[in-house]
Amino acid sequence: MELEKFERNNWGSCRLSSLVPPLCRNQHCCLGIDEAGRGPVLGPMVYGICFCPLSNKQDLEELKVADSKTLSEAERERLFEKLDSLKEYLGWALQILSPNVISTSMQQRVKYNLNALSHDTAIALIQYALDSGVQLREVFVDTVGPAEKYQEKLKQRFPELEITVKPKADSLFPIVSAASICAKVARDRAVKSWKFLEDLGDVNLDYGSGYPNDPKTKEWLARNLDPVFGYPQFVRFSWSTAQTIVDSRAVPVRWDDCDGDEKSSSKGSQSMLSFFARKKDDTKHQPHRFFQERKLETVKDL
Amino acid sequence: LLPCEIQYDGHAAVDKYFTPTI
């Protein structure tokens, strides 16, 4: 798993994949999806898929890839190497969502929450497998949200596939567990090899668990907050823990849509007649249209 | 020129966070 592509450009989104085994193009296959790094306030989130012919499901069970959450980082690495060696029949693909992509997606003007981002990423990976010629028949998906709605959404999108969405699917379906291993290993490596884009000198990487309720992580966030620029792009700005520290310790910044937000929460809409009423300063000298159109004004005082 | 109003006058670590590009 070469992460160099992501390491070079860790502010964007990155797709990594193995070669597609020829067997997967000739035989009916199953595919598992899982994620890694949904909860932390630091580092990327990774979506992973694994796929193999239905006839090889048993081989995965024998590998004992289930219960990946109980494994250490080193054990996960070892398991991944094992999975990667099964090139004859097992393929994988990953979508790495950088903290910057997560933050900008969640904070854009049109609502786009983490669930929607997650679903779209999963859908894109399934589509990638189909586009790569994998003869998919069964898809197994792990979820933290309501399973039925998500399953319905995927079934509508891929009506030809048999889709199963279940919480803790990684402990029920080995193909999901295999995907989970791939995703977790990718996230571990991405975090370990993270290159700070920002010229911050020697950044102390002792940030604890990276989870928002970890006091050590909160302390790291506060220590690495620049009052004008906020955090390094290693941080998910859209997490409320991160936002709270910014609100209290960074300088206020106002954007073009700030007034819009304030106005929309105020008393009520204006009467149509108010647009036709003469304004108080109509008799005041109006600058020539040349200046108004270009937002140029006379200066009375600096 | 920035597309936002920063309510502060003073030092900012611009070269640490921005790379000028033409």
């Binding site: 004008v228 300088v251 106002r254 954007w255 073009d256 700030c258 007034d259 000298h285 600058p287 020539h288 249209r289 040349f290 200046f291 108004q292 159109e293 270009r294 937002k295 140029l296 004004e297 006379t298 200066v299 009375k300 005082d301 600096l302 | 020129l1 920035l2 597309p3 936002c4 109003e5 920063i6 309510q7 502060y8 006058d9 003073g10 030092h11 900012a12 670590a13 611009v14 070269d15 921005f18």
Partner: protein
């Protein structure tokens, strides 16, 4: 705040020949509104510049390694100092109606720097465009002349029309949002549209009554 961003000619940074003769920001009377406005004299008052500001909500500047909260962009554009002197000539005509030395006309307690206008050589050499002149001994006396002024202003309008055309400024009469700037000239724009637009621009620099007379002219 003690820092602003301004676009101006390089020559304004030239060191003056004598200390104290350098470029000077000062408030003078805007001839159209009668209110104070910021202007800039180059060193030795060789040239007068009007200060305009581009002002839009929600801007700040990065200047080197600093943030400047004030997101305005100032422009210093050269202007004919005669417009400002004209204001005082018209006022003197209304109040006294007689020939006077120009240094007795351009006096303004509220804007003491107005006397610096008299150092603008080019403007001083152009007074005859807007006045009748009398010379007694070595001293010159001036009296505002409306007809001559209208003739002079018409030339300004004609020059402005040329500049509007060569810079492809949209002068069409359609109603649109103030922030919508057409990139192409509308096809049905007439010479009258240009003239009215130019008259409007020149009117920014003359008293209202004179603007009305100029429009009729």
């Amino acid at each position: 705040p003690d820092q602003w961003v301004l676009i101006a000619r390089d020559s304004l940074l030239d060191l003056p020949k004598k200390p104290g003769d350098g470029a000077l920001f000062t408030r003078l009377r805007n001839p159209s509104t009668g209110e104070g406005a910021l202007f800039l004299f180059s060193s030795c008052a060789q040239q007068l510049f009007e200060i305009k500001v581009f002002k839009e909500d929600y801007h700040s500047w990065f200047v080197g390694q600093t943030v400047q909260h004030d997101g305005r962009l100032f422009f210093a554009t050269p202007m004919d100092a005669l417009f400002l002197i004209l204001y005082y000539l018209i006022k003197a005509e209304k109040e006294q109606g007689k020939f006077q030395p120009v240094d007795q006309v351009v006096v303004d307690e509220a804007f003491p720097s107005s006397c610096i206008l008299l150092q603008c050589t080019r403007a001083m050499q152009s007074l005859h465009h807007v006045t009748e002149e009398k010379e007694i001994g070595s001293k010159k006396f001036y009296k505002y002349n409306k007809e001559k002024t209208l003739k002079w202003l018409k030339k300004k309008v004609v020059q402005t029309v040329k500049a509007l055309k060569s810079n492809n400024i949209c002068v069409g009469g359609s109603v649109h949002s103030a922030t919508f700037i057409r990139s192409k000239q509308m096809l049905d724009v007439t010479e009258e549209d240009y003239t009215r637009y130019a008259h409007g621009l020149i009117s920014e620099y003359v008293p209202e009554e004179l603007s009305a007379d100029l429009l009729k002219y």
